[in-house]
């Protein structure tokens, strides 16, 4: 095991990316992720990589397209408004099946919003985000260490499934300093890159494109192929953490930073004898619907509370998984206001009373 070090999230994620083999970073400054381009500007030249401060997020994501065409591991990072600007490019990458890693250190919105931590880009991240029939895998870390390790995972997923992958953090994860052990380079096998545009030497010319005009069914066939790929991702790549779930009668579903507040509230509730546990999705898409659905159908579990740093976005996915079997309640704060462990405890007690949960 590696040495324990202390790093800020925005900088640690860069080290994770470099360990994953990322050598190309294109990005545009935006708070609260400014340490990412600053760190990459200094660090990438040391490892033979290339950093460009692009003229916009739009240019950044399209530079990624270029580096991806060259078969290189490339990434960009931004925060909410900047990610909105990248959506056209992400849609194109999905259509052309090019790998890319996009880090979103989410801030408050809509609009210019504010620069405080938020999880309000859940919908955008998990529903494709841009135009057309597509999804992107979305990884949701809850600590600086997990953020760093997920960068390695993100590059693997991008190459294995030839898809843009989103790492969804928030302003707290980005600027918080925590102890961590850096990840090891991945041992996962990635398929050969037979699409790389490195000159048609001793082979037929290759084309990278998302346009499929003819025959009329060409795009539908391509989209069905993409959907099969997405089904495969859903069957193989769902990740979640279970916390005190074995005897839980009340199940909290929460991701990222807000899940840490939940852990504190769960510990407090447990002291009062309330059997509360948590499912923490580590992949937001594919969503861990299976485990939630299983719990919803068990006689033991009485209700769910969805906790987010927004006004209720993931709750749609929770409700789809619960499928009406149990009530799903919501607690959240938004736009930079953080969930409070005492307020959440009150909610837990309120729901427990309403659902007649037995005390231990």
């Amino acid at each position: 095991m590696g040495k324990k070090i202390l790093m800020r999230g925005n900088e640690a994620l860069c080290e994770g990316a470099i360990i994953a083999g990322c050598r190309f970073y294109f990005g545009y400054p935006i708070t609260p992720q400014n340490e990412v381009p600053a760190y990459m500007a200094k660090r990438l030249p040391e490892v033979g990589g290339c950093f460009i401060q692009a003229e916009s997020e739009i240019a950044s994501i399209n530079m990624i397209w270029g580096a991806a065409c060259a078969g290189k591991r490339a990434m960009t990072s931004s925060s909410s408004p900047g990610i909105s600007l990248m959506q056209e490019g992400i849609s194109y990458l999905a259509g052309a099946e090019l790998p890319a890693v996009i880090v979103n250190i989410v801030r408050g919105g809509p609009g210019l919003g504010n620069i405080a931590p938020s999880q309000a880009d859940y919908f955008q991240a998990t529903r494709g985000g841009g135009h057309g029939d597509y999804y992107t895998p979305v990884l949701a870390p809850a600590s600086v260490e997990e953020l760093t390790h997920m960068m390695v995972d993100a590059f693997d997923l991008a190459d294995i499934y030839r898809t843009p992958v989103v790492v969804l953090g928030d302003g707290i994860l980005g600027v918080m300093t925590e102890p961590l052990v850096l990840p090891e380079p991945s041992k996962r096998l990635v398929p050969p890159k037979d699409y790389v545009l490195d000159g048609a030497k001793n082979r037929a010319p290759r084309t990278v494109m998302s346009l499929r005009l003819t025959p009329p069914e060409a795009l539908e066939q391509h989209n069905i192929k993409l959907m099969q790929k997405y089904r495969e991702i859903q069957s193989k790549e769902v990740r979640h953490e279970e916390y005190m779930i074995d005897d839980a009668q009340l199940v909290i579903v929460s991701f990222g930073t807000s899940s840490r507040v939940c852990k504190a509230s769960i510990q407090m509730a447990r002291k009062e004898g309330l059997k509360v546990g948590m499912i923490r999705p580590q992949t937001l898409w594919p969503f861990p619907s299976g485990i939630i659905s299983e719990l919803a159908q068990s006689d033991r579990v009485r209700a769910f509370i969805d906790v987010e740093m927004n006004l209720g976005q993931m709750i749609d996915d929770v409700r789809l998984a619960v499928a009406g079997c149990k009530n799903v309640y919501f607690y959240g704060r938004t736009a930079g206001m953080l969930p409070d462990e005492n307020e959440l405890l009150e909610k837990i007690v309120e729901v427990s009373n309403e659902c007649c949960l037995q005390k231990a």
Partner: protein, 251 residues
């Protein structure tokens, strides 16, 4: 037997989708023949635009990629930085390069990316059916300037070569035309020079090619060539605007 004419090897033997009298076919053939001449087909990557020449990758025996509307030079930046030994050529129209992609154009040029940009300016949007382009001439009628382009409403036609000439980094900027044989030969020379400079690693090279769009101009091919000569070259002056390589060669 002495071969005096043949299809460039870099140009696929397929039917092009361009309208009769359109300049794109001419520019494609020139580009393909220069790629042949310089022997760079196996190291070339062509970045296409969105516009009439969106399918350019279907016509060249080279690797090629699409790019989102206006983003060709950002894509080319990523491609070239990732593989500096490859030849990266952007082929863009006036809407792609001078309207939606102005920012990418100026910044790629300003960074001095070692790429070659072929800018085909026909003063109109072709693929979408003849709307006003940033390069549409004053008074020119289009679908979206039905009474003729009015500078009060729509500003003035953008001179991209002159705009880029304000920047320090570009090494070569020239405006040429394909309306007659004499100018086609000059276009060949310009594109060859631009690609040669890229091979030599000199930096950003930009060739604007004035070109005809008979379909959307509503003219015959012959009249289109005349109109280009008469009106376009009057506003868009042909010639070398910058050639940093020329001085070095003379030394």
């Amino acid at each position: 037997m002495n071969v005096v004419y043949k299809r460039p090897e870099s140009l696929k033997d397929v039917k092009l989708h361009y309208c009769p009298g359109c300049g794109h076919s001419i520019v494609h053939k020139i580009l393909a023949s220069i790629i042949d001449e310089l022997g760079i087909r196996e190291q070339t990557v062509i970045v296409g635009p969105v516009g009439c020449s969106v399918l350019i990758y279907k016509y060249f025996e080279c690797d090629g990629t699409e790019s989102a509307h206006g983003r060709a030079q950002a894509v080319a930046t990523g491609l070239k930085r990732a593989q500096p030994d490859k030849m990266v050529i952007c082929y863009q129209g006036d809407g792609d390069l001078a309207a939606i992609g102005t920012s990418e154009t100026i910044h790629a040029a300003n960074r001095g990316e070692n790429i070659t940009v072929i800018f085909v300016n026909n003063a109109i949007y072709g693929m979408t059916g003849g709307q006003m382009a940033p390069t549409t001439l004053i008074g020119q009628k289009t679908k979206t300037s039905p009474f003729g382009r009015d500078s009060q409403m729509a500003g003035f036609p953008l001179k991209m070569c002159e705009l880029l000439n304000q920047l320090q980094a570009p090494v070569y900027i020239e405006r040429v035309s394909v309306h007659d044989v004499k100018h086609i030969i000059k276009t060949r020379k310009a594109i060859k020079k631009a690609l040669t400079y890229q091979m030599e690693g000199r930096g950003y090279t930009f060739v604007e090619v004035l070109s005809m769009c008979p379909t959307n101009w509503g003219m015959s091919s012959v009249n289109s060539a005349r109109w280009l000569q008469e009106y376009m070259t009057e506003y868009y002056r042909l010639g070398v605007i910058r050639d940093n390589g020329a001085g070095e060669d003379a030394k």
